[in-house]
Structures are given as structure tokens and as C-alpha cells.
Assembly symmetry: C2
Homo-oligomer: 348 residues x 2
DNA sequence: TGGGCGGATTTAAACGATTAAATTTGTCCG
DNA sequence: CGGACAAATTTAATCGTTTAAATCCGCCCA
């Protein structure tokens, strides 16, 4: 690679002048400027970002840690982050923690070592370990770049956070099912040690209570986020002869898994059993019947996180902010027989 | 950040010794070693990867440029790359060219400036500009890191490439439709200036000829990759009163768009019109009827590209290799009435 | 005893940029 | 003509590592 030194030599000026031309931070006379620009052009010079990063201590890169970047849910989050980032001249480094807590730590350290200017973290830390985790974040000697927490408010006293009110919308779904005459709602959750899974479950539970329905442990199945877990949960319930007239899944995958087994076993949806999901991933519009769900603003979550991170980078000492985004429930044919819905064919 | 110098001071040795302990490249006596490790531990020291990168000229990072990282097709490609990369201690920097040629160039330069150790490139360069492009790749003064070309063989004389025989499988699909008694096959392509789109079209065309069917320009619609383009292409054909008994789309999105409009207009699939796609994205199993398609090994494409890139990094002077991967067609109910198929619920 | 040898350690020079501080150049005015 | 002041340019230090070369040190053996 041709370096600034060689450009300087070629243009007959000092490296400092070349640097000044490039960064534009100090004034340079017009004809020297042209001479330097010429040399740069001729020699095909490109500034070495690694060297610049070392000197300036800024890499214009931010790190993004998500539980599983392969999941559809996070795609739009990534796009949101990406768009705001590139508008502001930042590059992003996307990493997957695979829902593993130790990996998460490792990645954070790696990002620190890479001198990223900031981190967006969708943590998979469990509720009970959050405090210890937050303490270790600050580290003894280590200075941390600003961190914005996505989906979790567990650290909101020290970290800015971008969240939504999962309990609220989960409750709205439950209410919608109850309003449709359902009383025995089988709830299929993801891993309950994760904060927003817990919140969704609480929303369901509290709504039942509000309606005078005693939550029945038999109707509560917890699993993973995968559709198999929805499939298996419902299969289990059927094999145990549990009676239910609705399945409320805490995400769309599980809802579709549930739909699959119910169709296989000859149930009519929604006549015999209603089904609801959460997240509004596009496949929920493709299956038939389409799935009632909550439209989670994942694009906006990513964008908001990035905007907030930029703000934290600019103002490291400002107090953390907690952004709570709005969502809305979308009623489709899996809960209401004559609901219409369109295939969502955008962006995949 | 605490630097090596401070660790050295704390441990009472020179920075070189600390470095030796960390890299393990030169021998260090056992008790000095322990002392240094202790200091590192106590001071919470982490090596600065930017500085190391500057000195060693290796960043252990590779760049990946894809036309559109938000598209489902590329998700598994990314996973494939990622898994091989992390097994080998590499990080990846994923970028989207948005199918724009200038952006692609810009990103390549940016990656060069960031001193990545290699690049995996799924180029969107058009067939006729390929040569000029390849020339510019080498650059006048600039030394390029090794590049592996994904999906395109246009530069295979200088770059290693990972491809599949698109014409072959596209032809097999056409043959399958013909074997099913279809004679008037409406072809919906993506942008034809892209090499593999052209190949898929050629496969279709040559198969028609082989079967004594004259390709009919009226039955050829070209569009984007989006499902709307499938929808619109079929709508156009219908409005023009073009008669056809099958739609062969060059990707699954377009096929599903076609399915949508045909259902809206009351056609029975596959009785009145058969539909086929390409890529085997999971949504093609979700719609009903499920779409006959070609299972493109995108995970393996990513993995193979990364393996090949590692090889190129190790042996920069070895001649480029051209890997051609296998695929297979999958027959589903959109072309054969009683074909069975399962929802693909894995990995989304 | 002293020279030679090899392993452990340190010195010091990079890597390629940025940026204070010092220096040069140029301009204007008394 | 000379001095003052501002603008342009250069010098040189620095960011945090790695690494070739130099040095040190202990040990063995003639």
C-alpha cells in the first residue's frame, strides 16, 4: 500500500500537509492543495483507516451484538441500525451471541479490543444475573465505549435502552382472544428467564386475572423460540388431553408451529382453536389462515438504538435515556374467521 | 485503556517481554511469564487490536460484499461464511452494495482502506462491464487483498469463484414443466444483465428449443427480484390476453408474486397454471400450493467461499480455483397436483 | 580463568497516520 | 526599509503494538 509519506514525497511537501489536505482541518493554500490532490490521484493513494484509528482513537465503527443474527426478527433491526449508521458515516460490526451469556461477554471484550466507538447490545442475560452483569460491564480498569441496550431495560439506570411494552400488547392479545369467546388459552412462551419473555407472559397472566379467569398451569408451556417448540407444546397438550380453545404463542414461529400440528390433527382454525403470535414476521401472513400478531417495530428499534448511540457518543456524560416504542396488534384470520389479510411480500 | 507499557511497568519488565508473553512467539522464562500474566489480570489489560493490526498488517477480518444483505437468500450465505470464519479466528465485515455498481466499488475501496485480509464479493457487475471492472480491481498502485467471487465466474481467470450451474437446473425445471404437459411457459426473470440471471434464462430457452418449442418473446417478462415483479409480470400477461399454462420464475419471490395474482384471478394452481421458482427459500414451502423450485446450496456457497478465501490468504500466489457446487430441483404441489411437502420451519 | 554459546531480556525502529508546537513565508503598514 | 502579524508549512512527538538486532547473563568447558 502506498502511504502518506510517499504521496508527500511525490508532491514535494511534508506528510503533515498531505494530512491537512485530506482531513481539511487546517487550511492549505490552493495550489499546494491541488498538487497534493494530484499526487493522491496519480498514486492511487488511500488513507489507512487502521493507522488513523490508532492515532485518533476513533474507528467510526460500532459493534452490534444480537442473540441470533440469522433470525428474521433481527433482520429489520439490523437494517434500521445500518441505515442510520451509514447516514452518519459509521460502519457496523454485527455479531451473534447465540443466546449464550459467555459468548456475549467475549464479544463485548472483543469489541472493546477493536476500539469500536460504541455498542448496541441485545443482551440475553437472565433477569437474576443482570446486576452482576451490569457491574462487570463497567470493568475495573477498562473504559467502556457507550452502550445502548436493545429490548432490555435491566440496566436502564446506567445504559440507554430501547424497548417496548411487551406486557401491554401481550395483554391486548389475550383480551382479544377472550373477547372472541375463548376461555382456555394455551400459552406457549419462549425462555422465561429473558426479560421480555417474562413480560409477555405476565401480560397474558394479568389479563386472565382481570377477566376473572384463573391462570391454569396446565395451559402454560415454555419452550424455545423455535417453531418446533410451538409444535411440540401443542402436541404435548393434545396428548395430555388438555382442552383449549386458543393458543397464544409469544412469537410467530411458535404460532406457526402450533398451526401446523393443529391442521395435521384436523382442527379448524379459528373455529375450533384460535391462534396468535407476536412480532409480525412476514411468514405470519403467508400461512393460511394468516396469524393474528403484534406488529413489533423492529426496524424502528434498530434505528432508534443507533440514533441514541450517536447521541451517547457525542455526549458521553449525558444521563441515560429510556425509549419505549409503540406497537399495535394486528387481527387476522387465525383468530377472527372473516378477517382479511394480504401476503406481506416486501423485503425478503 | 490500559496499554502494554503500563503493564510492563507494573510487572517490572519491558514491553517487548509483555508482547512475547501475549503472542507466545518468543520464549519467556516461566516466572517472568507468570508475573506478566498476573499484571495483565490485575490491570484488566486487553491488547489493542487496532495497534496490532497496524504493526502486523493483518486484521483477522475479512470483508463481505453482498448485493442486499436484507434478502433471505443471502442469510444462509452469511451464516456459511460466518461459521467457517469464526472457526478460523476471523471476523467478518458485511456490507451491502444495494445492487449498485458504484457502491460496490466504493465498498471495495473502503475495505482496502480498512486493511481487511480478504474479500468475498458477490458482484452485481453487468456482463458487459465485467472486463473493465476486473482490470480496475487490480488497481495501478494498489495491492489488493485476495478476493473470492461468489455467484459469478466473470473474473474466474484471476479470481477464485464459487458458483453453481444455473443454466442446468433452470433447464431441468423447464423440462419438468414440459414433461407435465405444459407448452406455453411464461418466464419471469430478474435483471438479465446479471450473469446468473442470464444463465437461468438461457437454460429455459435452450430446453424449449431442445423440445422443439419455439421460444415466444411474448412469454418472456423481465423484472426485478421482487415478488411484485412476478405479480406484475403475470398481470401484464393476463391483461394482454397472453395464453400460458405455466409460470417459470427465476426466483421464489417472483414465483410467489405470480401465485398471488393467479389466485386472485381465480386460476387453479397447478391445474390451470403450474408455477415454479428458484432458490428454495423457506416461504416457498409456506404458501399453498407449495412452490416447485431449485434448492440452491446457499449455506454451502458461503462456507466454500470462506474456505477458499482462507486458502488464498495462506497461498496468495496459487492459481485461482473455480468451484461449481451441486443443486437439485424440488418438486412440489405448484407443478404436480399430488406432490406432498412440509413447511420448512427451520432457521428463521 | 576466560572465551564461547545460547537462552532470556531489552533497545529501538518500525507500522501510517494526526496534531501540537515551531518555523517559515508572505503581507501590510508606519 | 523593517517590523509585526497572520497564514502556510514543517518538525517532531505520539497512538499501542511487533520484531529485528543488540545486550545481558549464566553456564560449560578447555
Amino acid at each position: 500500500m502506498v502511504s502518506m509519506k510517499e504521496v508527500a514525497l511525490h508532491a514535494g511537501v511534508s506528510v503533515a500537509t498531505v494530512s491537512n489536505v485530506i482531513t481539511g482541518k487546517r487550511s492549505v493554500s490552493e495550489n499546494v492543495r491541488r498538487k497534493v490532490l494530484d499526487s493522491i490521484e496519480q498514486m492511487n493513494y488511500q488513507v489507512n483507516l487502521v493507522a488513523r484509528g490508532l492515532k485518533t482513537q476513533r474507528t467510526n465503527t460500532i459493534g452490534v451484538i444480537l442473540p441470533d443474527i440469522t433470525k428474521l426478527f433481527f433482520q429489520k433491526v439490523i437494517i434500521g441500525i445500518l441505515e442510520v449508521a451509514s447516514l452518519n458515516g459509521y460502519r457496523i460490526n454485527i455479531l451473534s451471541s447465540s443466546y449464550d451469556h459467555d459468548t456475549e461477554r467475549l464479544l463485548i471484550n472483543m469489541l472493546k479490543a477493536s476500539c469500536v466507538d460504541g455498542i448496541i447490545l441485545d443482551s440475553c442475560v437472565s433477569i437474576d444475573r443482570a446486576r452482576a452483569w451490569a457491574d462487570s460491564l463497567e470493568g475495573k480498569g477498562g473504559v467502556m465505549p457507550p452502550v445502548v441496550s436493545l429490548e432490555s431495560r435491566l440496566f436502564s439506570d446506567r445504559l440507554s435502552s430501547i424497548t417496548m411494552d411487551n406486557a401491554l400488547y401481550s395483554g391486548q392479545i389475550t383480551q382479544h382472544l377472550i373477547d372472541g369467546g375463548r376461555r382456555k388459552i394455551l400459552y406457549v412462551s419462549g425462555p422465561l428467564h429473558i426479560e421480555h419473555e417474562r413480560a409477555r407472559f405476565d401480560g397474558y397472566r394479568n389479563c386472565l386475572l382481570k377477566n376473572g379467569i384463573g391462570p391454569d398451569p396446565v395451559l402454560q408451556k415454555s419452550g424455545t423460540y423455535l417453531s418446533e417448540s410451538g409444535y411440540n407444546a401443542v402436541m404435548e397438550a393434545l396428548n395430555e388431553n388438555v382442552r383449549f380453545d386458543a393458543v397464544q404463542a409469544s412469537n410467530d414461529q411458535a404460532a406457526i408451529g402450533a398451526l401446523k400440528i393443529l391442521k395435521e390433527r384436523g382442527f379448524r382454525v379459528p373455529d375450533d382453536v384460535a391462534i396468535s403470535g407476536f412480532d409480525n414476521l412476514f411468514p405470519s401472513t403467508l400461512v393460511s389462515p394468516a396469524i393474528t400478531t403484534v406488529d413489533v417495530p423492529n426496524y424502528e428499534m434498530g434505528a432508534a438504538a443507533m440514533r441514541e448511540l450517536l447521541d451517547r457518543i457525542e455526549h458521553p456524560d449525558a444521563p441515560p435515556k429510556a425509549h419505549v416504542l409503540d406497537a399495535r396488534i394486528i387481527v387476522r384470520a387465525s383468530t377472527v374467521k372473516d378477517a382479511t389479510s394480504q401476503w406481506d411480500l416486501t423485503n425478503w
